[in-house]
C-alpha cells in the first residue's frame, strides 16, 4: 500500500508524542479503540482554565501508520483551539488532509472519537470540580 507523503511525514516525525498528567483537573484524556482491533489511541488535551483554549495536546497510538498520522495531526490541530472549536473537528477533515484511502477511514474516525473523549473527560472534571483520574470511555474492570 502506498502512503501519502503527509502520512509518512507524521509517521516519521510524529508531533506531540507523550503524556500529560492525567490527574490534572485541566487535562482531559481520551482512550479509544482496542488492542484486538489493532488500534488504540490515547489523546490528551490541557485546557487553559482562564481562556478555555487548548494549550497543549499529546498522543500515544498503537496502530498502523495512518492511525499514528491521524492522531499526530489531531494534536497539531487541537493546540490553540477552544474546546468548542475542537469538537468541530471532523474525521473527514483528517481524511482530506492526510489523503487517507477508504480502508483507512476508520483511523480518522478513531481520532475524532479520541478528541471527543478527551474533551468529555475534561468537561466532566470541570463539572465535578475535582480531579478524578477518569479515563473517558474506558475503566479497568476493577
Amino acid at each position: 500500500m502506498a502512503y501519502s507523503d503527509k502520512v509518512i511525514d507524521h509517521y516519521e516525525n510524529p508531533r506531540n508524542v507523550g503524556s500529560l498528567p492525567k490527574d490534572d483537573a485541566n487535562v482531559g484524556t481520551g482512550l479509544v479503540g482496542a488492542p484486538e482491533c489493532g488500534d488504540v489511541m490515547k489523546l490528551q488535551v490541557k485546557v487553559n482554565p482562564v481562556t478555555g483554549v487548548i494549550d497543549d495536546a499529546r498522543f500515544k497510538t498503537f496502530g498502523c501508520g495512518s492511525a499514528i498520522a491521524s492522531s499526530s495531526l489531531a494534536t497539531e490541530w487541537l493546540k490553540g483551539k477552544t474546546v468548542d472549536e475542537a469538537l468541530a473537528i471532523k474525521n473527514t477533515d483528517i481524511v482530506e488532509e492526510l489523503a487517507l484511502p477508504p480502508v483507512k477511514i476508520h483511523c480518522s474516525v478513531l481520532a475524532e472519537d479520541a478528541i471527543k473523549a478527551a474533551i468529555a473527560d475534561y468537561k466532566a472534571k470541570q463539572h465535578e470540580g475535582k480531579a478524578e483520574p477518569a479515563l473517558a470511555g474506558s475503566q479497568p474492570n476493577a
Binding site: Y3, G38, G63
Partner: protein
C-alpha cells in the same frame, strides 16, 4: 549490501540462475508439445518432461510415474481434495483437515461442504500442531481423506506427518499433505511419512511461478482421482492440458538442486535464523515466537512484538520485505487466522512479523534487519499507549475497551 532486503521467502523465491539456464532452451529451440508423439520436436519435449518427473520424484522418494504436473500448489490441492472426494463418494463423505491450512485447502473443503460433504477442521494446540488424539477421534467409517499440511506458511510449524500417516494407514483413510513450504527445505520421503498425495510448488523452492506437482501414490494403495479438468487426457488422465514444458524443466532442476544442497543450506539458514531470534530477544523485551520452536522449518521465524502494531512496524522497516499477521496488511481487515488459531490473542496477531530466510540471505543483511527492527520497535513502543499502560502495571486484558 543492496536494499531492499528480501526476507519473504515463504511468499515466493527468486529463480535460481542455474534453473533459468536449464529452462532457456525450452522457450525457443526445444519448444515442442510433449504430447506430439510423431515428430522429434515432441519427443525432445517429452524427454525433458520425463527427466523432470524423475527429478521431482527423487526429491520426495517417489516413483516418477506418481508425479502429476500442475499449474502450482493451489491446483494440486484442489485436484487432490476434490479428486478424492468425487472418486470415493460411494465410500464416504467425510474429510478431516485443520484450521491453519492454506486457503487453497480450506476453501476447497468449504466448497465440498456446500456439495454435501462433511468436513472436520481440527484445532491446533498452542504450538501450532494438531492433536493426534483429536485426529483419531475424528475419524469415522465415512472418512475418506485427511488433509494436513506438512509445514505452515506463516509460522513454519511442522505437523507430525509420519504419525498422521500411520494413523491414516491403520484406519484405511487416504492422506494428503500440502508440502509446499517443506519440500526441498527439509527431508521428505513419501514412504517414510506414509502419505498418499503431496502438493508441491516450484516457486517456493527457487523455480518458476505457475508450475507445481501432485504426488499420487500408485501402490499400497493405488490412489484414484476424479479429473477436475477435462480435455486431452494428459498426465494419466488426471490433469488435462498441454504441459508447461519450460516450467516443468524449471521445477525438475530446482528439485535436483534442492535435494543436493538441502543439508548444507538448511544448516546455514537454521544458524542464521537462530541468531536473528537470539539477537532480537537480547535487544527487546516482551517479544514472543509464534508456534513451536522445535518443530519448525529451519528458515522461518514468526515473532510478535507486543504493544506494537504490525503495519506500523513494516512501515518503519520499509527497506526490508517481510509479512505481518496484522489486519491492516491484509485485504480482509482481519488479523491472521493462523495466529488467532494459536490462541495467543488477536493483539499479538496484530503485532506479528514473519521472516522467511532463503538461499541468498546474508549475515550482513540480518545485522541490518536486527538493528533497524530494534530501533523501530523501541521508537514505536515509546509511542504506544499499551506499552505505557503495561509499564504502569495495568492488566490490559482486564480493560474494557471502547470498540466500534
Amino acid at each position: 549490501m543492496k536494499l531492499p532486503i528480501y526476507l519473504d521467502y515463504h511468499a515466493t523465491t527468486p529463480v535460481d540462475p542455474r534453473v533459468v539456464q536449464a529452462m532457456l532452451p525450452y522457450f525457443t529451440e526445444i519448444f515442442g508439445n510433449a504430447a506430439s508423439r510423431n515428430h522429434p520436436f515432441g519427443w525432445a519435449a517429452e524427454e525433458a518432461v520425463e527427466k523432470a518427473r524423475k527429478q521431482v520424484a527423487d526429491l520426495i522418494g517417489a516413483n516418477a510415474k506418481e508425479i502429476i504436473f500442475t499449474s502450482g500448489a493451489t491446483e494440486s490441492n484442489n485436484l487432490a481434495i476434490k479428486g478424492v472426494a468425487e472418486m470415493y463418494r460411494e465410500k464416504g463423505n467425510h474429510l478431516i483437515t485443520c484450521v491453519t491450512e492454506h486457503k487453497a485447502v480450506i476453501d476447497t473443503c468449504k466448497k465440498l461442504e456446500k456439495q454435501g460433504y462433511r468436513v472436520t477442521y481440527l484445532a491446533v494446540q498452542k504450538d501450532g500442531r494438531i492433536s493426534l488424539d483429536e485426529l483419531k477421534a475424528a475419524i469415522t467409517d465415512k472418512t475418506i481423506l485427511i488433509s494436513i499440511m506438512t509445514a505452515n506458511n506463516e509460522i513454519g510449524v511442522i505437523q507430525p506427518i509420519a504419525e498422521i500417516g500411520t494413523i491414516a494407514k491403520e484406519k484405511g483413510v487416504l492422506f494428503h499433505t500440502d508440502a509446499v513450504q517443506a519440500t526441498g527445505k527439509i527431508p521428505f520421503d513419501v514412504n517414510a511419512l506414509k502419505v498418499d498425495l503431496v502438493s508441491m510448488s516450484a516457486h517456493k523452492m527457487y523455480g518458476p511461478k505457475g508450475v507445481g506437482a501432485l504426488y499420487v501414490r500408485r501402490r499400497n494403495p493405488r490412489v484414484l482421482l476424479a479429473e477436475q479438468t477435462n480435455g486431452g487426457g494428459h498426465e494419466r488422465g488426471m490433469r488435462s492440458g498441454t504441459l508447461n514444458v519450460t516450467g516443468i524443466v524449471g521445477l525438475g532442476t530446482a528439485s535436483e538442486i534442492a535435494k543436493a544442497e538441502m543439508a548444507t543450506e538448511s544448516a546455514r539458514l537454521r544458524a542464521m535464523r537462530d541468531r536473528l531470534s537470539a539477537e532480537l530477544h537480547a535487544n527487546l523485551d516482551e517479544i514472543f515466537i509464534n508456534g513451536s520452536v522445535e518443530h519448525r522449518l529451519p528458515h522461518n521465524l514468526n515473532i510478535s512484538f507486543a504493544y506494537v502494531e504490525g503495519e506500523s512496524l513494516l512501515m518503519g522497516i520499509n527497506d526490508v520485505a517481510v509479512s505481518s499477521g496484522s489486519a491492516c496488511t491484509s485485504a480482509s481487515l482481519e488479523p491472521s487466522y493462523v495466529l488467532k488459531a494459536l490462541g495467543a490473542g488477536d493483539d499479538l496477531a496484530h503485532s506479528s512479523i514473519r521472516f522467511g530466510l532463503g538461499r541468498w540471505t546474508t549475515d550482513e543483511e540480518l545485522d541490518y534487519v536486527i538493528n533497524k527492527l530494534t530501533t523501530v520497535v523501541r521508537r514505536l513502543r515509546e509511542m504506544s499507549p499499551l506499552y505505557e499502560m503495561a509499564k504502569e502495571g495495568i492488566d490490559l486484558s482486564k480493560m474494557q475497551w471502547v470498540t466500534h
